[in-house]
């Protein structure tokens, strides 16, 4: 009896050990650095980077993975205690959660931080739910979100880029009168509703709104009603049923010239060009207000690198960061992914970003508001729900209520922090 029992226990233990050790990519004599990034669309470039880096550093073996839905993969691997050495994600709510739980290492001793534009380091600082000391990410490139337009159609009809809200609406009327579709939307994918939302919100609200609401000094419902109404107004100028098509469909429709404008971020440009490489794309800041001076650019960190707290190869990770940060490598990245570098210095920006360059140079930019919304709140689905149903009061009430529900631990910590400082 005992024999069977111990045999079966042994078997069980052996199986659990087997399932525990996943594929290890160690190569003899080399230190492996594992980087997981969410930039699936840049996977080819990252593979080139890894190859070149490994040729240059014979003692190291950099492995870069860019899986689908990488942020979930990263979180799942953290749950399994199998974290990579480095991660490359956006400056968004995922970063907020990770930095708050203390799984990211402090990299303030990394020398390359001095070359980063101050405004991007500040953006990362503001994403910490409760302020911490130290630096937890190296901002790499930023993106900008506003309205993409078809340059050829605009030139053909002689349309000008609007710098006021009324101007934008007039332009939409003109485009419609010319028998064309002003906009295309991919709102079947709920996250796309955040693109116009963010672009409107940066000009219509102040970035400290989140802290004020958390401290009970203000409410979202005091500010978000106007944004919601304006966003709903834009849907009237859609060329198709905005909720029938997803992001990919909308990119394809815009690439084929089925709409003159597409309210989405610069991150969509590579995908649009992959459908129609000859399309001339321009972009402009979504003019949310009628006073052009109050309109600012919606720009956030599209890709930043963090070293995990538990990584045993921190020094080696810094060598990877140095490699990524070389000017020629940044230029290669922004050429391919059409983005804005976070490093100081002269870089050549893609043509489609020229109208936004003035805002970037003048530092008239503000981070994506949705990077501050906790992801379990599902702000994108809330906005989509409002756009479908048109129930403004319920939308605003839910927004305020859910913010408090899903932020209750952060709010408590923030109140404690405010008392102590």
């Amino acid at each position: 009896m005992k024999k069977y029992l111990s045999a079966s226990i042994c078997l069980t233990l052996a199986m659990s050990v087997l399932s525990g050790c996943s594929s290890s990519q160690d190569i003899a004599g080399k230190t492996t650095i594992e980087l997981v990034t969410y930039k699936m669309e840049a996977v080819d470039l990252f593979n080139e980077f890894a190859r070149e880096f490994n040729e240059e550093n014979p003692d190291l073996n950099l492995v870069i993975e860019a899986p689908k839905d990488a942020t979930t993969v990263i979180k799942t691997r953290l749950i399994k205690d199998d974290a990579p050495d480095m991660i490359g994600i956006g400056g968004d709510s995922t970063f907020s959660i990770l930095v708050d739980t203390g799984v990211l290492g402090d990299i303030s001793d990394y020398s390359g931080l001095d070359d980063i534009k101050e405004s991007f380091l500040e953006i990362d600082k503001k994403l910490e739910p409760v302020p911490k000391t130290g630096v937890y990410a190296l901002p790499y490139v930023a993106n900008a979100s506003g309205i993409l337009f078809n340059k050829r159609i605009f030139a053909q009809y002689g349309w000008e880029i609007p710098d006021t809200w009324d101007g934008l609406i007039n332009l939409c009327e003109t485009i419609q009168a010319a028998g064309l579709a002003p906009f295309t939307f991919g709102h079947k994918d709920s996250w796309t509703t955040l693109a116009p939302w963010n672009a409107l919100a940066v000009s219509m609200t102040s970035p400290d709104l989140f802290t004020r609401v958390s401290l009970g000094q203000d409410k979202f419902s005091n500010h978000y009603g106007d944004i919601a109404l304006k966003q709903k107004q834009l849907l009237e100028y859609s060329g198709n049923d905005p909720f029938a098509y997803g992001y990919n469909d909308a990119c394809t429709a815009f690439a084929k010239g089925l709409a003159a404008m597409y309210p989405i971020g610069s991150y969509a440009i590579p995908q649009i060009l992959s459908v129609n490489p000859d399309l001339e794309i321009g972009s402009f800041v979504l003019p949310a207000n009628n006073d052009p001076k109050t309109n600012i650019l919606n720009s956030g960190i599209d890709l930043q690198f963090s070293v995990m707290e538990d990584s045993k190869v921190k020094e080696e990770c810094y060598r990877v960061l140095e490699f990524f940060q070389r000017n020629e490598n940044i230029q290669r990245y922004i050429n391919e992914q059409i983005s804005v570098p976070c490093k100081q210095g002269e870089f050549e920006l893609n043509e489609s970003l020229t109208h936004m360059k003035d805002y970037i140079d003048a530092n008239l930019l503000s981070d994506y508001p949705d990077h501050h919304y906790p992801s379990e709140m599902g702000a994108d689905a809330l906005i989509q729900t409002y756009l479908v149903t048109g129930d403004l009061k319920k939308f605003l009430d839910t927004f305020d209520k859910d913010w408090i529900r899903f932020n209750q631990d952060n709010i408590r910590k923030l109140l404690e922090y405010e008392e102590n400082h």
Binding site: M1, Y4, L5, S8, I9, L11, T12, M15, S16, D69, T71, T72, K75, T76, L78, I79, T94, I97, L98, D100, T101, G102, V103, H187, K188, D189, S190, D241, F243, A244, Y245, G246, D249, P374, S375, E376, M377, G378, A381, Q384, T385, V388, T389, T398, R405, F406, D409
Partner: protein
């Protein structure tokens, strides 16, 4: 002598059973207990966490999103269960009758079952977004030319079609095997007493395949309550959160959303609900079964 034989036998049985019990305990029961532990914390899935008592459970009952997902999932599961059982029973009756190419037809009707839920979801996604509205426009039908997936009023129906299309396959198979257990002589005896057509089905066939009906009802209800793949690939829970199933919400809120503790509490409640329903269904339907 007899005792020794018995103990030998029971040893063999124990040797077969114990490893399975341990495996089940380690990979299933332990996980459930762990999940219950997490449900009492504000755990994000990684990093540090605090014990918050029953806060997650109290929050659950006032969270409109959670309540809506329960209403949706139950409505969906009930409609799907009824629909799938009617269709598969009719199909099974047809495929058990003496028709041509019976084997080939059975194989074709079983095909959806071997495809993955995600694959089917993506195929139907394309069908509902482009092909069906295309047909609608061609025949000038206003209702059809809009994508079913675009409106919260119709998206659930598209999901029902997709899920039912796949689920009918396995249920038909189970009903066919059930129909084969009914001996021919019962029918012959019934025919002498005048049981033909629908009367034959109602009074002879259906009572005799009742155990298979029970299995199908329980399996269907449980599978449809846990619908996940098709939601991910077809609607992503939208539009306007109208098709968020409970499993989908647990996954999206708990893993990608970072509310691991909160959704663990949801999972515990969901577990209790499914066990209760399954036990109730088995008890109720077993009492209706006939034995020959």
């Amino acid at each position: 002598m007899k005792d020794k034989l018995n103990s030998n036998r029971s040893r063999t049985f124990l040797a077969i059973t114990i490893p399975i019990v341990i495996l089940f305990f380690v990979f299933n029961t332990m996980a459930v207990i762990q999940g219950f532990g997490y449900s009492l914390t504000n755990f994000k899935g990684f990093g540090g966490y605090d014990f918050v008592g029953l806060r997650n459970y109290i929050d659950l009952f006032s969270d409109e999103r959670i309540i809506n997902s329960y209403i949706f999932t139950f409505g969906f599961a009930i409609i799907c269960t009824i629909l799938v059982n009617i269709i598969s029973l009719v199909l099974a009756l047809g495929l058990s009758s003496k028709i041509r190419a019976q084997g080939a037809l059975r194989a074709i009707y079983f095909l959806p079952n071997i495809l993955g839920g995600l694959v089917i979801g993506y195929v139907f996604n394309f069908f509902f977004t482009y092909i069906l509205p295309g047909i609608g426009e061609a025949i000038n039908s206003g209702a059809l030319s809009n994508s079913l997936l675009a409106s919260p009023k119709t998206a659930w129906f598209a999901l029902v079609i997709t899920v039912a299309w796949q689920a009918v396959a396995l249920n038909t198979l189970i009903y066919i095997s059930g129909l084969q257990t009914v001996p021919e002589d019962v029918y012959e005896a019934g025919a002498i007493d005048g049981a033909v057509g629908f009367k034959k089905f109602k009074n002879i066939t259906f009572p005799l395949i009742m155990p298979f009906f029970t299995i199908n009802m329980v399996l269907c209800m449980k599978n449809f309550l846990m619908v996940f793949d098709q939601v991910v690939s077809l609607t992503g829970g939208g539009p306007a959160r109208s098709t968020e199933s409970i499993s989908f919400l647990i996954y999206s809120g708990g893993l990608s959303g970072g509310a691991f503790g909160y959704q663990s509490a949801n999972a515990v409640i969901f577990f209790v609900v499914i066990v209760t329903i399954s036990i109730f269904q088995l008890r109720f339907l077993n009492s209706k079964e006939e034995q020959l």
